[in-house]
C-alpha cells in the first residue's frame, strides 16, 4: 500500500501571454485560446530542466516538512532534458545534498509523471519514501527557425513533484494502470537537436480514445464507475481534449481540474503542477496522462 503525501511545483517567472506569441506567429490570440484553452505560459530562459526540477523538489519537501536525507529514491521524468546522460535526476540528488540515494530518469514526455507515480507506488514499499519529479523546458524545443505554429502555441516550462510513501497519509493510492503502444511512435517525437514533430490529429484521435478507456479500466478494477469520482487531475495537454474526456466519461466538466490557461502544456510536468494546486476532498480522484510513445496510464487515489 502506498500513499501520496505532498505535491510541489515550480514555474518560471517570465510569463508569455497569447498576445506576445500571436504577434510572433502571425495568428490571433483568440485563436490560440479557442484551440487550446491556454491564455499564457511560462518560459524558463536561462534555467535548465534540472534547475526547474530542483526547485519543485525543494517545494515538495518543504510542504512535507521533510529532509531530503530521508528519501529512499528519486525519480525524474523529462522529455526535454538537455543531455543524453546523466539525466537530470543525478543533478537533483546532488543539489539536495544526497550522495548515496539512488535515482531514476524517465525520458517520457507528457505521460512521464503518471508513469513515475505508478512505479513509485510500487517501489515505495521497497525503497521507502520516493520523490517523484517531472520537469520540462519545452520552450527550448519549440523555439527555432522552423517554428511550428501548432506546437508553439501549446507548450510552456515548469516542474512538479510528489512525495510517495508507504507511510499512511490522507491520500491512498488504490491502483494504477500503465500502457504503451509503439505503433504511433513517430506521431509525437523529438530527436536530439531536431524540431518537435507532432501529428496533432493522430495524437488527439488516439488520446480521446485511450484516456477515457484507461480511466475506466482503473476504475473497473476497483468496481467503480466514473460517476463515483470526485475529481480528475489529468495531464494538461489541451483544454479541448480534457473536456472531450469528460464528455466521453459522462461526467461534469467541473470535475476536470484545469490550470492549463495559466501554464500551457508543460508536458510531463503538467499533471504534478496541477496536483500541487489541487485541493483534495474526500472521495476518489483519478490521475491520468497520455503522450509520446504512445504511453498512457491512470492512477486511482482515495482521499480520506
Amino acid at each position: 500500500m502506498s500513499y501520496l503525501h505532498t505535491f510541489g511545483a515550480h514555474v518560471p517567472t517570465r510569463i508569455v501571454a497569447n498576445a506576445e506569441l500571436a504577434a510572433e506567429l502571425g495568428c490571433a490570440p483568440e485563436w490560440i485560446e479557442s484551440a487550446s484553452g491556454i491564455r499564457e505560459r511560462r518560459y524558463a530562459d536561462g534555467d535548465t530542466v534540472a534547475d526547474l526540477a530542483i526547485a519543485a523538489a525543494r517545494d515538495c519537501l518543504a510542504r512535507a516538512g521533510m529532509e531530503a536525507s530521508k528519501l529512499g529514491l528519486i525519480m525524474v521524468s523529462s522529455g526535454s532534458a538537455e543531455r543524453r546522460f546523466p539525466g537530470p535526476a543525478a543533478t537533483v540528488a546532488a543539489a539536495l545534498g544526497l550522495n548515496t540515494t539512488p535515482v531514476l530518469d524517465l525520458p517520457i514526455a507528457s505521460a512521464g509523471s503518471i508513469f513515475a507515480l505508478s512505479l513509485a507506488s510500487q517501489l515505495a514499499v521497497t525503497y521507502g519514501d520516493v520523490l517523484v519529479v517531472a520537469s520540462e523546458k519545452m520552450s527550448s524545443v519549440i523555439q527555432g527557425a522552423a517554428r511550428d505554429q501548432n506546437t508553439a502555441i501549446l507548450f510552456g516550462d515548469g516542474a512538479g513533484a510528489a512525495l510517495v510513501s508507504s507511510r499512511p497519509s490522507r491520500i491512498e493510492i488504490v491502483d494504477s494502470v500503465l500502457h504503451t503502444d509503439g505503433a504511433n511512435r513517430e506521431d509525437l517525437s523529438l530527436d536530439w537537436g531536431g524540431p518537435l514533430r507532432m501529428n496533432g490529429r493522430t495524437v488527439i484521435l488516439q488520446a480521446t480514445r485511450k484516456l477515457p478507456a484507461v480511466i475506466q479500466e482503473v476504475l473497473q478494477r476497483s468496481g467503480l464507475v466514473a460517476a463515483e469520482v470526485k475529481q480528475f487531475v489529468m495531464h494538461q495537454a489541451n483544454q479541448n481534449l480534457i473536456m472531450k474526456v469528460a464528455r466521453t466519461l459522462e461526467v461534469d466538466a467541473s470535475l476536470m481540474f484545469s490550470n492549463i490557461a495559466k501554464y500551457g502544456n508543460t508536458s510531463s510536468a503538467s499533471m504534478l503542477i496541477a496536483a500541487s494546486e489541487w485541493e483534495p476532498s474526500p472521495g476518489y480522484t483519478v490521475f491520468a496522462g497520455f503522450g509520446a510513445g504512445f504511453n498512457w496510464g491512470a492512477l486511482l487515489a482515495r482521499v480520506a
Partner: protein, 83 residues
Amino acid sequence: MSGDNSYMRDRLLKVLQQVTSQPVTIGDEDSLFESGLLDSFALPDLVAGVENEFSFRVPDSDLNPRKFDSIARIEAYISEHVQ
C-alpha cells in the same frame, strides 16, 4: 452505385452533417480537413458517429486520420468492416 452503397453514403453524410453542423458539399475525394469541414477535435466525433451509425468498433490500430480524410476513404473503410 448500387442501392446499398447509396444507402450507406446517405447515412455517412448524415453523420458528417451532424458532426460538422453544416451542409456537406465537397467532392468525394476532397480532404475533409483541407476543406475546413473537420478539425482535430471533430475527428473523434466523426469516428464515434460512424461507429454508432454502422454498429461496429474502429480498433485503436485504425485510428489514423488518413483513413477518415475524405468521403471516399470513409466509405471504403466502412465497406471493409460492415457486411
